[in-house]
Symmetry: C2
Subunit: 341 residues, 2 copies
């Protein structure tokens, strides 16, 4: 039997545990998995592109556990009342090859992306930052805001989205939780003077959400929306004057903001900074960018975190997914009883 | 909601439909999908190797439906009472990116492999063959035997396996269904004079199950067991004197019997024969080999066949796998009710 956590149970788990508690634990999982980077099998995600969007598989393994995520990216979906991104994931036991755990991952992806943003910001953010500017207030935005508050105590948010209803939704969701939110009139106003900027827009185009002149010295940019070929948010000149941090270079060159740069442009892998073998922010005035595209190890971390969290609870069901004949060479026995030939 | 067919329901579906009926339908699905080869996205499977075995993802898409299979290969598993191969698979809608259908695929893999063997044998087998020799009587063997009888009327089987209990199991499963089975004393005896040989052994080594001198002129060899790097069954000299047919050349060079040959050795892709653009068997005396490794399109075929077969039946349940907030940009709403912060 395979343990299965459905949407309702992930929702219940999050609601009853509380996002602050979850981010506390999850940030540790992501950070400790990034620090043991060489333990993992790493490859760019396996993407199937269509003119509607993209469907991807993101596998990894640490030699004991294997995981993969199924995830789609269909920006056009919101117009049809569907999610841009939906996902589910699986853990398997490397020794037997048997799947052990399946979960919805639409919610989990929002959690792990926010946790990874916080892990990246820790060595990159200037000290004393008290507010975050956010461009894009879609599905992921509330999770980002709560994760940053949880780790850095940031209560003040300045937001901008081309969709007024999405901003209204954001305010309605987060003001009751004590955030102080300013709705800007445009992107320029939202980011003016900001030391921390999160960009998270969904258009599948080379958009220019931020240009060089909009960004203050010393800012850290948590850039989430450049995540597949032809989908970027930041102006190339802004990239050129900033220090750029990535998850897996090979994947980010395909999917991230840096697809706009030369193939040998300088980037720093986040795990090397976390391990202390590379420098993060090296001056107060430097602009840093976390060019986040989302990597399989983050999915591994959140799946393992959930798997460990739900043991002994009623947050999972069991699925009869794996054929188990009593004689392993007698698969046929599963159908030969009462069979019609 | 995603439709889910578990092991029990696939077993029920097979038992009540009957394997002959299933192979009738499934052979058509596989054949028609192979004939529209250029409609599909094709890539070698995505493998994660460990010293225990291999875990693989096998994705494909025809532009309307996307499918992938998760499958492991752990020959050591039978010693622990576990299956060598377990699998499950998913269909998704390319337009929305949403998964629509999940099924166990341990049984389905045995079905589609046998159906594909039959599809390949059709243009390669000499006419009038009335018996099949089988080396290896493990999990897949009964399905192969029934598929070949279903299509070619072959009732007589000559079998050999290094495990006497596996042979006994095979006889107990198939004699009641009217097969005439001879248990050989060794591989040589099993294949002597045979015009149709199925090899299906599971050792993860470069084994030599068949050598050149063992195989009669005019034979067709349905070779299933060479299916990952370092795992082959046929002697290289036998390969060199035979005409070899493959699924996707690029994948078979990595996984199949032909990994023993030069990288530019001549092979014919099966779909070209089915479409009539390449020749199959071109003389009575030629030895033909279907170097079957299993390809993603076959999984697509069997998943689509099952999906279509179970509509309107009670052979599936529904899983709450996809988060569906009423406002697609308000993923947060799924957890904000009754939440603890």
């Amino acid at each position: 039997m395979v343990q299965f956590v459905d949407v309702k149970n992930v929702s219940r788990w999050i609601s009853t545990t509380g996002l602050d508690n979850i981010f506390d634990g999850l940030v540790s999982y992501v950070e400790s998995d990034f620090k043991r980077w060489e333990n993992f099998e790493k490859r760019p995600r396996v993407a199937s592109h269509s003119h509607y969007g993209v469907i991807e598989l993101m596998p990894t393994s640490d030699g004991s556990n294997y995981s993969f995520k199924y995830v789609n990216g269909h920006p056009i979906n919101t117009k049809k009342g569907l999610q841009t991104v939906t996902a589910f994931g699986v853990i398997a036991d490397v020794e037997s090859g048997y799947p052990t755990f399946i979960s919805e991952m639409t919610l989990l992806t929002a959690l792990r992306t926010a946790a990874t943003s916080v892990v990246a910001a820790s060595p990159l953010l200037n000290p004393g930052v008290e507010s975050m500017s956010m461009i894009g207030t879609g599905s992921q935005s509330e999770f980002q805001a709560i994760a940053f508050r949880s780790k850095f105590g940031i209560q003040n948010l300045k937001v901008w989205d081309t969709d007024p209803e999405a901003m209204e939704k954001f305010v309605l969701n987060l003001e009751p939780l004590g955030f102080d939110i300013t709705v800007a009139k445009n992107a320029n106003e939202a980011v003016a003077g900001a030391q921390l900027i999160t960009t998270c827009t969904a258009d599948k185009t080379n958009a220019t959400i931020l240009t060089e002149d909009m960004v203050a010295v010393g800012a850290h940019i948590n850039a989430l929306g450049g995540d597949c070929p032809g989908k970027t948010e930041l102006d190339a000149d802004l990239l050129r004057k900033s220090k750029i941090f990535v998850e897996l270079t090979e994947q980010t060159r395909i999917e991230g903001e840096i697809q706009q740069l030369e193939a040998d442009s300088e980037v720093t892998e986040l795990w090397t900074v976390l391990r202390g073998s590379a420098e993060g922010r090296s001056s107060h005035d430097m602009i840093t960018i976390f060019d986040s595209v989302g990597f399989a190890i983050e999915d591994f971390s959140v799946l393992r975190y959930l798997q460990n969290s739900v043991q002994g609870t009623d947050y999972f069901e069991e699925l009869d997914l794996i054929a188990e004949p009593s004689d392993p060479k007698n698969l046929f026995s599963l159908i030969s009883e009462n069979a019609v030939w």
